[in-house]
């Protein structure tokens, strides 16, 4: 009996290995790989090649010269590039700091038990799911100078004494887009942090309570260290996703007035689709890509370190 079952066991094992490793497994991934090669790999390589050539709207169908790094040098000598880089950094840092802090505070709040908690949590996600074009348009209306409701609130609270044209003044335009982006990003941060908090073991908190640790001490010595991996992933994902925001700023200010809210994706768009200097635009997006790769490498390093710990 035992001998027989062993034999049939090894029989199924080899059949099993065959089943799981035969060539037709690749049929399952083939469509996805094909799509990725044609619609992602190929455009990326094309973009890279173009960034070394002189493609523009006039010679699109003709022959192109190889220019070496000329486009890159031109981009790096353009003052607007540095303005965009600076704006991108400001936009990303300000958005993330507030999205994360507000998101964390809300996550801690929603981690307590009270009626309606799940409903509120879902309602917040709705804001995040709205197409950015819609949220951007709504914020544009709320921030408008003459009849905007935000001016009304701020005046009622006595924070400003006359209406501000938030999006059409160069000193506040970028700030206006940041505020809208914080609103969009808070729910996502909240949900991710909340799911992290819900995974923390209760018994640690109970033990800490017995030792007389107050909530602040518990937060610093239990919550924060245990949440570290979640926080790291969230922040890196946040940096990458915020750095490439295009729609919102394009809708609200289109990068203006002048260049006051131009971030790198807007700059790349203008190069490629307004000035129609495709190669120049390609070099801008390659530089943007390099920055994102650097951030991702930091992320991979951190997450592999986290795994070791």
């Amino acid at each position: 009996m035992s001998h027989k079952s062993e034999a049939s066991g090894s029989y199924t094992l080899s059949r099993r290995a065959k089943w799981f490793s035969s060539w037709n497994n690749y049929l399952f991934v083939l469509p996805a790989l094909l799509f990725m090669v044609v619609f992602i790999g190929f455009p990326l390589i094309y973009n890279l090649i173009m960034s070394f050539q002189n493609v523009n709207v006039y010679n699109l169908t003709g022959k192109h010269d190889f220019l070496g790094f000329a486009n890159y040098i031109k981009t790096l000598q353009d003052p607007v590039f540095y303005v965009s880089l600076k704006n991108s950094v400001i936009f990303t840092v300000l958005s993330l700091v507030f999205q994360f802090t507000i998101g964390f505070a809300l996550a801690l709040f929603f981690n307590t038990k009270f009626p309606g908690r799940n409903l509120f949590r879902s309602l917040m996600l709705l804001a995040w799911m709205l197409p950015v074009v819609i949220s951007g348009t709504v914020f544009q209306w709320m921030m408008s100078g003459d009849f905007g409701v935000i001016n009304y609130f701020l005046q009622t609270l006595g924070i400003i004494d006359h209406p501000v044209n938030w999006l059409s003044e160069s000193s506040t335009a970028l700030l206006g887009t940041v505020v809208a982006n914080i609103w969009i990003g808070v729910p996502f941060n909240m949900i991710i942090l909340l799911s992290g908090l819900q995974g923390l073991p209760d018994h640690l908190y109970e033990a800490a309570k017995l030792d007389g640790a107050n909530r602040l001490v518990q937060f610093r010595h239990i919550t924060l260290p245990l949440m570290r991996p979640t926080i790291l992933v969230l922040l890196i994902l946040g940096i990458i996703n915020t750095f490439k925001v295009f729609d919102l700023i394009f809708i609200m200010t289109a990068g203006g007035p002048v260049t006051s809210s131009t971030v790198l994706p807007i700059y790349a768009y203008q190069m490629s689709f307004t000035t129609l200097e495709f190669s120049q635009g390609a070099s801008v997006s390659m530089i943007m890509f390099l920055i994102l790769i650097l951030i991702s490498i930091v992320y991979l390093r951190m997450s592999s370190k986290e795994e070791v710990h």
Partner: protein, 277 residues
């Protein structure tokens, strides 16, 4: 006992206050859309509605039919993105979770890295490629472009659902006379239905909400989606905010409907897509 009850009531109260502040923009959008023009530029603005009218909806969706065309296009693009993403991502996620494939790690890393690509970086080479093969001003072109974002998300979100299924399912199916493909469609797929729902909802959303590819890969209103319609509307009608908000509200409506209907799948999907792997 009473103390915890009071605390819970306090929590609900604070929750309601947070909701009022946080959802104010959504309220303001809907409220503005039904505000009569004469009320629109009232200073100070009325926070609560004093009069309601559906004029802006009638003007923009019944008298003027342009928006109806945009809405139809949005549905074609969103449904196309959803269906094609499912067709491609579901088998791929299954194989990456449960079958042995060489270079699995490499494929997963590529899929994860694709998510980091800025849309504008893809838009420009796609514009030139698509002009050569007549995919500009073409629904298929827009759907392919939207898949760049939707497909990696779908695979990353679905894979954990397949991983969570017990081992040995395929063997049992085989004993019952299934081959690899029928065991996948008949046995495995029904078990990951929640995952399929999540992914379907999000892929629809990506197609519905896309702006950057609609902006760069179309010039003909016959294929343009509602997001671009709304954007062009801002340019044309500048400050007629009641009209703009009516269009915005209607553009948000399918999202709200999907959201209400599929709430539980969506909340799970957000965390799964972002954090797993």
């Amino acid at each position: 006992m009473t103390k915890t009850k009071w605390r819970a009531a306090g929590g609900t109260l604070i929750g309601i206050l947070i909701m009022i502040v946080f959802l104010f923009p959504v309220y303001w959008m809907i409220k503005t859309s039904v505000t009569p023009v004469t009320e629109l530029y009232h200073n100070p603005p009325h926070i609560l509605p004093v009069a309601a009218t559906f004029d802006s909806y009638i003007d923009n969706f019944i008298r003027n039919q342009d928006m109806i065309g945009y809405i139809g296009n949005s549905f074609i693009i969103a449904l196309g993105t959803m269906i094609l993403s499912l067709f491609i991502s579901v088998p791929a996620a299954y194989a990456l979770a449960r079958l042995s494939i060489k270079g699995k790690a490499l494929i997963m890393i590529s899929i994860l890295s694709i998510q980091m690509l800025p849309g504008i970086m893809m838009a420009m080479p796609l514009y030139i490629m698509f002009s050569k093969v007549r995919l500009i001003d073409n629904f298929a072109g827009l759907i392919f472009a939207d898949l760049i974002h939707a497909l990696p998300f779908a695979i990353i979100t679905l894979r954990p659902f397949f991983l969570a299924l017990p081992g040995g399912l395929e063997e049992a199916a085989k004993i019952d006379g299934c081959n690899k493909f029928t065991s996948f469609t008949k046995i495995i797929l029904p078990l990951v239905k929640p995952g399929l729902m999540t992914v379907a909802a999000f892929c629809f959303l990506f197609g519905w909400g896309d702006f950057i590819f609609a902006l760069t890969l179309t010039s003909d209103n016959a294929v343009r989606p509602l997001t671009l319609g709304l954007y062009r509307f801002i340019g044309q009608y500048g400050t007629e905010w009641n009209n703009l908000m009516a269009v915005a509200t209607l553009a948000a409506l399918p999202i709200i409907v999907i959201f209400v209907a599929m709430q539980k799948y969506i909340v799970g999907g957000v965390t799964a897509g972002a954090m797993k792997d």
